[in-house]
């Protein structure tokens, strides 16, 4: 079994779910125009990942193999709806901006991927940490991308003006293709530092 700190730290860079495994790209494009939405989304995904990994790991020995994916889906969907309802009640403004993307965490491959690849084979504690690590890895990418996009796109950071107000704002950065460019550059940067590439 992998060491505890490796479970948490590995997904931050070496095995990052977004930049290395290329999962969860859709939401990384959609919610990263501004920092607050990216932060809330990160928090929501991390909570869902920790929760679903823990629950599925606890059930791993009783889930009938034939329907295991459906069971994973039911657990994940329930947790996502739970988070969505809480956001609507306690963070209404942000939940309006995130709109459908909270619901779409259900289809985020990272969540299902970790449930199937890790939680089905490991005890709850390790699974929880695996969820936490992957959640943080996802969050790190979202927050970096959102910071760059918001500064270049609007000259603000979390709504506070950081560039001189004469800065006109870069229209490319506020739309999804801008996020593609940033994520691409991020992957390039990461791989040229870690020197880890996949042989094509």
């Amino acid at each position: 079994m992998p060491a505890i700190n490796k479970i948490v730290l590995d997904p931050l860079s070496d095995n990052n779910p977004v930049t290395v495994q290329m999962l969860g790209i859709c939401s990384a494009l959609a919610v990263t125009a501004q920092l607050p939405t990216a932060f809330t989304m990160s928090l929501a995904v991390t909570l869902v990942l920790c929760g679903s990994n823990t629950i599925i790991s606890m059930l791993r020995n009783v889930i009938p193999p034939k329907i295991r994916m459906i069971v994973q889906m039911v657990v994940i969907a329930s947790l996502v709806i739970l988070v969505d309802q809480c956001l609507k009640a306690f963070a209404y403004e942000i939940s309006k901006e995130l709109s459908v993307f909270v619901g779409l965490i259900i289809t985020n491959c990272i969540v299902m991927g970790r449930a199937e690849a890790f939680a089905m084979a490991n005890p709850p504690k390790e699974s929880f940490l695996d969820g936490l690590g992957n959640g943080l890895g996802y969050s790190a990418v979202l927050i970096i991308v959102a910071t760059i996009r918001e500064i270049l796109g609007a000259g603000t950071l979390a709504g506070i003006q950081v560039l001189p107000s004469s800065y006109p704002g870069n229209g490319l950065m506020v739309i999804a293709p801008g996020a593609f460019v940033i994520i691409g550059l991020l992957i390039w940067l990461q791989r040229s530092i870690t020197k880890k590439y996949e042989e094509a």
């Binding site: 329907i67 309802q85 809480c86 609507k88 403004e93 229209g171 506020v174 739309i175």
Partner: protein, 232 residues
């Protein structure tokens, strides 16, 4: 039937029941708060149109207070329903097309301060919802608010930002017995006109949509109500 098939069915049944009970419980206990959020949000939007500076009781709020109310969403949001009930009344106007429609009236000491009516229409991607507020002259825009839309963030999505909505203030929709069609400029408005509004760059279609539905809804309310109640 084999034994593990039975087990599979039993497991599926249990997990479905447990999950749906849990969700039903959460939904039931949060519904009150969620509905209140929606109601406050709607009232904030009506108030933004009726009186963008919240100056009903004589003392306008400072810029910081407005930021707290509208942008950061901080409490004293809880005060809004009270504010709403104390000053705002709702009337029903019979539109020629489309039947009865809401008209919000802000009154202070029995005197009408402003009117607001809901307007909505297509932007580029989505339906943009709006409230348009007019001064007591039923001709000058006092405040306007766009909300609940799916326009591109940073481009058409800027319509829900205070800077864009502030551009509409003081624009005239009706003068000397004739409609003055509101127009949204590409870039800066022509300062010579009274109904030309600074536009959002990169969002021409959202702007055109807004221009169209604001004019159309104003026309409908004008025919049904403002026309015959206007003093001059």
């Amino acid at each position: 039937m084999q034994k593990d098939d039975l087990n599979t069915i039993r497991f599926a049944a249990i997990i479905c029941v447990v999950c749906s009970m849990a969700l039903a419980g959460v939904q039931g206990s949060l519904r009150g708060i969620q509905e209140r959020n929606k109601e406050i949000d709607q009232q904030v939007n009506v108030l933004k149109a009726l009186s963008p500076d919240f100056a009903v009781d004589g003392t306008p709020l400072t810029e910081e207070q407005i930021t707290e109310y509208f942008i950061e969403g901080k409490v004293p949001k809880e005060d809004i329903p009270g504010y709403f009930e104390n000053y705002v009344s709702m009337e029903t106007v019979e539109l020629k097309k489309g039947g009865p429609a809401d008209l919000y009236v802000l009154k202070k000491d029995g005197q009408v301060v402003s009117y607001a009516f809901p307007a909505e229409g297509k932007g580029l991607w989505s339906t943009v919802h709006s409230y348009v507020g007019l001064n007591a002259d039923m001709a000058t825009i006092r405040g306007i608010t766009f909300f609940d839309h799916g326009e591109t963030p940073g481009l058409g999505g800027e319509c829900s930002k205070p800077w864009f909505q502030a551009n509409f203030r003081g624009k005239v929709l009706w003068q000397d017995g004739e409609a003055e069609k509101l127009t949204i400029a590409k870039g800066n408005a022509d300062p010579e006109t009274i109904h030309n509004v600074d536009g959002m760059s990169g969002a021409t279609i959202t702007g055109n949509g807004i221009q169209k539905f604001v004019n159309k809804t104003f026309q409908a309310y004008n025919d049904a109500f403002f026309q015959e109640n206007r003093a001059m």
